[in-house]
């Protein structure tokens, strides 16, 4: 018995959320009194032994030309193989876009209970009970698995990692032939941008910024903080910013350590995607803006005055620290 964890990499580099998934799997496996098998798929230039620092006892590296690119069907078939050939209890994976694509395929392939949006460790493991976010951050639901196997998809950046030191044995599985039924044509990555679900700090702008030409201010602040950038829905609807930056109930849900909202009113649909952020700062000229009720820190004032001052103060702080 064991717990399998999918460790996603992008162009050969592990995603930060993969370490979180391994750490989550290790803590779950400890509750179950069993071990962790980390699965790496495709070419990976990172040192695989790093997975031991998050609790992987074994690393299975499936790599051959049929696994060069992410493909939901072929990657799911690898994980199903890893579960079946090791009689594992189930799979842990991070709820990235790719994780969300394969979770349901694993559930069907393994006839497993799929629990997504998981935001804490299992409350019990026999039966498996775990809390997940629902109603777009407006509630939590504890789910119980009714199947022998489970697939848990965890919210990126939600639970964090515990570093340990386990020496893992690494096994290369070169010969696995993976079926697929779709084909990548191309990828187009936003240059230099920090992917939103992974960003620890997010700076976000709303309609209060008046127009796309004023986003330099947001980007300057984000760059001092090493932050990702986001926006409210109308801002992406008006094409001031790309769709991929739209956060909220109908955009991306995020839970960074720090969310700075500039010129955003704090509509219920916006809050639904950001209210799980650990610390929220709101900058708004209207003291009655509803966002202040959901914030930890607030400044009432004109963004065009405050944001450059804040960027300067942070630059000074970074220089000293």
């Amino acid at each position: 018995m064991s717990v399998v964890v999918y460790t996603e990499n992008w162009e050969g580099k592990f995603k930060k959320a993969s370490f979180e998934a391994v750490s989550y799997a290790a803590r779950t496996a400890a509750q179950m009194g069993t071990e962790v098998i980390a699965v790496v798929i495709g070419g990976c230039s990172d040192d695989l032994s790093v997975l031991g620092s998050y609790g992987a006892n074994h690393v299975l590296h499936y790599s051959n030309s049929s696994l060069d690119h992410f493909n939901p069907k072929s990657y799911a078939s690898v994980l199903i193989d890893a579960v079946n050939s090791n009689s594992a209890h189930g799979v842990v994976l991070s709820g990235s876009f790719n994780g969300k694509a394969i979770g349901p395929l694993l559930a069907v392939g393994l006839k497993a209970a799929l629990i997504t949006n998981v935001s804490s460790l299992p409350e019990s493991t026999a039966p498996l009970r775990v809390k997940r976010g629902a109603f777009s951050s407006k509630g939590y639901v504890v789910y119980e698995s009714k199947q022998e196997k489970f697939v848990l998809s965890i919210v990126p950046n939600g639970i964090g990692v515990v570093e340990v030191s386990v020496s893992s044995n690494i096994e290369l599985k070169g010969g696995f032939s993976a079926p697929s039924n779709s084909e990548r044509v191309s990828v187009d990555m936003a240059r230099g941008a920090i992917p939103l679900p992974e960003a620890e700090i997010v700076v976000s702008g709303g309609r209060g910024l008046k127009g796309p030409e004023n986003w330099n201010m947001v980007e300057d602040l984000a760059s001092v903080l090493g932050a990702g950038t986001a926006c409210s829905k109308p801002v992406s609807d008006m094409h001031w910013r790309p769709h991929s930056e739209h956060v909220g109930q109908t955009g991306i849900a995020i839970n960074p350590n720090l969310y700075i909202a500039i010129g955003i009113s704090g509509a219920i649909q916006h809050l639904a995607g950001v209210s799980n952020s650990k610390t929220i700062v709101v900058i708004n000229s209207d003291p009655e803006a509803p966002f202040f009720k959901a914030a930890d820190y607030g400044i009432v004032g004109d963004a065009f005055d405050i944001v450059p001052k804040l960027t300067a103060a942070l630059k000074e702080f970074k220089a000293q620290n």
Binding site: P72, K73, G95, F97, K100, A101, G103, P104, L105, A107, V108, A113, L114, I115, T116, N117, K131, G133, A134, F135, S136, K138, G139, Y140, V141, V142, Y143, E144, K146, Q147, N181, S182, E183, V185, V187, D188, M189, A190, A193, I194, P197, I201, S236, H243, H246, T250, G251, L258, V281, K293, A294, D296, Y297, G298, I299, V300, K309, A313, L314, F317
Partner: protein, 248 residues
């Protein structure tokens, strides 16, 4: 093209979510239910494909009789006919099995769904249906064209976009981008009138699986009052973020 659009019936985005006192279920008093916003993008795209390539658009919901007004709304927007599979949609796997059985019988060319339901945020049903059918699956789809039986889809990935090709039939889970917000169709008077006479068929439930069960509902912990910082003293905010919140 024979298209099926799967419609989830969810609380309106402005709803205040409350749970029953025993924490065992959603308290739906006063809640208005609507077509899942992601499914509106799927439905509009389906109608657009029908107009361009011919064919039909059927909408389906797995739910009890209370979801019929939501299906009628989809008919008013332009779907040709509607099906309700008569089952309480308590588990994603069970919903997927219901849809799988319908799709196997009816031989659709394309199944369009939403990226996720905004109630339980499952992100389960579309992928499960694709796996049960062994059809290609595109999640988080933000653009799609079909030519000579091949679909070219753009899907969102962390930090960018990926273009993928797959043959029909396939399952697509869409979101904004599949069509633009401004192009979303809304019911007009004529649509509402004709919707009343369009077919809405009720079929019995077939699934027996229960993969998961919700056992307890909880509200998030309330926030502490917001600390206000003067606009003349942004340095104070930097100090608070560093020393108190430990966020920088």
């Amino acid at each position: 093209m024979k298209i099926l659009v799967c419609i989830s019936h969810v609380p309106d985005t402005t709803s205040k979510i409350q749970f029953t006192a025993d924490g065992k279920s959603l308290d739906s008093t006063g809640i208005q239910f609507v077509i899942n916003p992601y499914d509106e993008f799927a439905l509009t795209r389906a109608l657009w494909f029908k107009e361009k390539l011919g064919g039909s658009v059927t909408v389906v919901n797995v739910g009890k009789a209370n979801t019929e007004p939501t299906l009628r709304k989809a008919l008013a927007i332009g779907a040709d006919d509607a099906i309700r599979i008569d089952a309480e949609p308590t588990d994603g796997y069970a919903v997927a099995e219901e849809l799988h059985s319908l799709i196997s019988l009816e031989k659709y060319d394309l199944v369009l769904m939403g990226r996720e339901s905004i109630d339980y945020n499952g992100t389960q049903v579309p992928g499960m249906v694709s796996a049960l059918l062994d059809w290609p699956f595109i999640n988080a789809c933000v653009g799609m064209e079909v030519e000579n039986g091949i679909a070219t889809c753009i899907r969102e990935i962390d930090g960018g976009k990926e273009t993928v090709k797959a043959s029909l039939p396939l399952v697509v889970a869409g979101q904004k981008g599949l069509v633009e917000e401004k192009d979303l169709r809304i019911p007009n008077m004529r649509g509402i009138m004709t919707a009343r006479t369009k077919p809405l068929k009720v079929v019995p439930s077939v699934s027996t699986i229960v993969a998961t069960q919700a056992v307890q509902y909880e509200k998030p912990a309330g926030k502490q009052a917001c600390k206000m910082v003067s606009s003349d003293n942004v340095k104070a905010l930097v100090d608070l973020l560093h020393n108190e919140a430990k966020a920088i």
